[in-house]
């Protein structure tokens, strides 16, 4: 057991830190405004030019073939530098792992390099009005048509879809519940998009209406009817490593401790606790990375991490709100607080995660 970074890993960290200190922009307008969306896309293109947008991907798709540990190092440096939120996030972290694993060579070549530089920005289209935590209750469907499929139905809570170029989602092609679902990629140009303002007043969500949208066979990911299995492979990465690396929480914890430095001891104590918990998540992730690199699957244990990081993030931002009072928004913590409130909801609510922990990790009966 050791916690030592190799010389190559230390060099990589130095390079990333150096590049970000020169190139990271100051705060950009929200990515949920038209001008903010374009500014975030331009930033992704700049990152991609430095081959830093998707370091863990193979070189042929715009990455560096970096190891998981190097990716974690990148994330630490990225968030410590205060660099912008990732407008490409749902594509590079949620869709890309599925594309790499289940996509055809043609699909990978067509979509991954464009995704890596923000040329295409992908929105996730899973939830429906009557299918949230119970995703398998979804009713949007696809009907066969010459050369492809026609999509019908209604998706909602689709993050980034107001401005994104493409979407990915599950549609029923046969069967019931988990059986007979198919994973589709689709351009948003033919889809009816109704933006939905989030708590901050900006359209971070959208509703998607499909009224016979034609999708060619080349945009089906994996086999028809295999959508659930492919989607679950994606949620495993969403709940686990790829969506919320420790770097984001470490950076928040550092800011929080500085904020609490002159605070009442009871509040300062909570800040110190959060700092140590962010460390615990980091250390735990190094252990997880080791297991993944040894060929183990993350599986249901990813739910332990999802509960921990989402509730830690909420505790940190709640404390910042208490410390700052009326100055919270001005001091730049309100957006983070609102975002942290979403953590226990998205990627499978924490109630569902606790069921998964109880049933699949601990072995309690259903």
């Amino acid at each position: 057991m050791d916690l030592d970074f190799s010389p190559a890993e230390r060099d990589f960290r130095a390079e990333v830190r150096d590049w970000l200190s020169t190139n990271a922009p100051g705060p950009l307008p929200s990515m949920d405004t038209p001008e903010g969306f374009e500014a975030h896309r331009a930033w992704e293109a700049l990152l991609a030019d430095a081959r830093l947008s998707v370091v863990s991907w193979p070189e042929e798709y715009g990455g560096r073939g970096a190891s998981l540990i190097e990716w974690l190092i990148f994330e630490e440096e990225y968030w410590a530098a205060g660099a912008p939120a990732r407008v490409t996030q749902n594509g590079i972290f949620l869709l890309a792992p599925s594309l790499m694993r289940f996509g055809t060579p043609g699909q990978r070549e067509r979509w991954l390099p464009r995704m890596a530089r923000g040329a295409d920005v992908w929105a996730q289209a899973w939830s429906e009005p009557e299918a949230g935590s119970d995703l398998a209750a979804l009713t949007a469907r696809a009907e066969p048509a010459p050369g492809g499929w026609l999509l019908y139905g209604h998706k909602t809570w689709s993050s980034r879809a107001a401005h994104a170029t493409h979407g990915f989602g599950l549609f029923r092609t046969s069967g019931t519940r988990h059986k007979g679902l198919t994973y589709f990629l689709f351009p948003l140009t033919e889809v009816g998009v109704r933006p939905i303002a989030q708590l901050d007043g900006l359209p971070g969500f959208a509703e998607l209406h499909f009224d016979g949208v034609f999708v060619p066979d080349s945009l089906v990911l994996g086999e028809a009817g295999e959508g659930w299995r492919i989607a679950m492979a994606t949620t495993s990465s969403e709940r686990g490593l790829t969506l919320r690396s420790p770097g984001r929480f470490l950076a928040t914890a550092d800011r929080l401790v500085r904020l609490a430095r002159d605070a009442d001891p009871a509040l300062a104590d909570r800040a110190a606790r959060c700092w140590a918990e962010a460390e615990a998540y980091r250390l735990h992730t190094f252990g997880t990375a080791r297991r993944i690199m040894a060929g183990e699957e993350l599986g249901s244990a990813a739910s332990l991490g999802k509960v921990f990081w989402s509730e830690l993030d909420l505790r940190m931002h709640t404390l910042a709100m208490e410390l700052l009072g009326e100055r919270a928004a001005e001091a730049g913590w309100l957006d983070g607080f609102l975002f942290s409130l979403a953590g226990p909801i998205y990627a499978g609510t924490n109630e569902i995660q606790r069921n998964i922990i109880a049933e699949r990790v601990l072995g309690l009966p259903r």
Binding site: D269, A272, W275, E277, A280, R282, E351, N355, I357, G363
Partner: protein, 344 residues
């Protein structure tokens, strides 16, 4: 970067676990003060951290932290941490230490009573005027009420004593981390026993473990243990690291300060990692105890169910080598002092 245990470290823990399963079953907790100690001694358990010159194996804390976790899981009584972990850094020269023939108790700073002092051949006692080493025959022990039936505690009086020849801090740091490892083991066992009970106990025609109100409490324990353990393993590495030797010497008052100006900061960061581990492990174990009792219901609230030993161990160890509140305060002081550098 390889934050996982080696085959040797895992094998040591498995061996200790097997010995404890065979020789420290719950029934032994009711009738013996030191079950399985003879068998552990035969394994060489008490020489693991001793230098080779003292017939030990010269291992680091990270090598044995999982084995220590097993002693917590088994609720092993007796001054295990004091004899196997603290003594090698307090009285390494004491004869027969490696053989397990000498039992050591410690009265740490900030505490009034020494647990398991009745079993000790040597006592290391912290007082306002310094740290003293007291032989059994010179010690006057007065039993004091305690939390843990298997960890009786004593006020220690003495006439004759020797000053401790080495700084006490390196031993205290290691004992604190070792206690944190035991707490992780206690929490894991409480969780396992309670999950088993929730699967078997039926009410309203269903196992109580099928109810979400029960599931979610147990899931919270699983999360708490899962994220306390890495802090404990890291703290073991922290105290083992080369810099820690400089830290030990700095505490000793040697001239390393001039050589390495960072030693003061390094001391603070080592203390910080140790306190983060102890506080998290203590809280995880106390939560595990609370949920274990709640899920067991009335049967858990009895003397006759073995669960009581683990409940008491969670409570007593969470207060040992600094209460959770003490470690929370140290952590806060270290962080608000301004040094946010991390290891690694």
């Amino acid at each position: 970067m390889n934050f996982g245990f080696t085959d040797e470290q895992l094998a040591l823990a498995a061996t200790v676990r097997d010995v404890l399963r065979a020789h420290c079953p719950p029934a032994a907790l009711r009738r013996e003060r030191r079950p399985a100690w003879k068998e552990l001694a035969e394994l060489g358990f008490f020489g693991l951290l001793l230098p080779e010159g003292a017939d030990g194996l010269g291992l680091g804390l990270a090598d044995v932290v999982l084995a220590l976790e097993e002693t917590g899981r088994a609720c092993l009584p007796g001054p295990v941490v004091e004899t196997a972990v603290a003594a090698p850094f307090l009285v390494a020269g004491a004869p027969k230490l490696a053989s397990g023939a000498v039992c050591v108790a410690v009265l740490p700073p900030g505490q009034a009573y020494a647990p398991d002092a009745d079993l000790a051949d040597l006592l290391v006692v912290t007082r306002a005027d310094g740290v003293r080493v007291v032989a059994r025959e010179s010690a006057r022990l007065v039993a004091r009420p305690g939390t843990d039936p298997c960890r009786p505690q004593f006020e220690v009086g003495f006439e004759e004593s020797e000053p401790l020849a080495v700084p006490v801090e390196p031993a205290l740091r290691r004992a604190t981390v070792a206690t944190a490892a035991q707490l992780v083991g206690v929490a894991r066992e409480l969780l396992a026993v309670t999950v088993a009970y929730a699967r078997a106990r039926t009410q309203f025609g269903a196992p109580i473990g099928s109810f979400q109100a029960v599931k979610h409490q147990l899931a919270d324990v699983a999360v708490a243990v899962e994220f306390a353990a890495p802090l404990v393993y890291r703290a073991a590495l922290t105290v083992d690291r080369a810099v820690d030797r400089a830290v030990d010497r700095a505490v000793d008052g040697a001239a390393d300060r001039a050589v390495d100006g960072a030693v003061d900061g390094a001391v603070a960061r080592v203390e910080r990692d140790v306190s983060a581990a102890k506080a998290a492990a203590g809280e995880a174990a106390v939560l595990a105890a609370r949920v274990a009792l709640q899920v067991h219901g009335a049967i858990g609230y009895t003397e006759e169910l073995d669960l009581r030993f683990w409940l008491a161990r969670a409570w007593s160890l969470s207060a040992a080598y600094g209460t959770t509140a003490t470690h929370r305060r140290r952590l806060r002081a270290a962080l608000l002092g301004g040094d946010l550098r991390r290891y690694p």
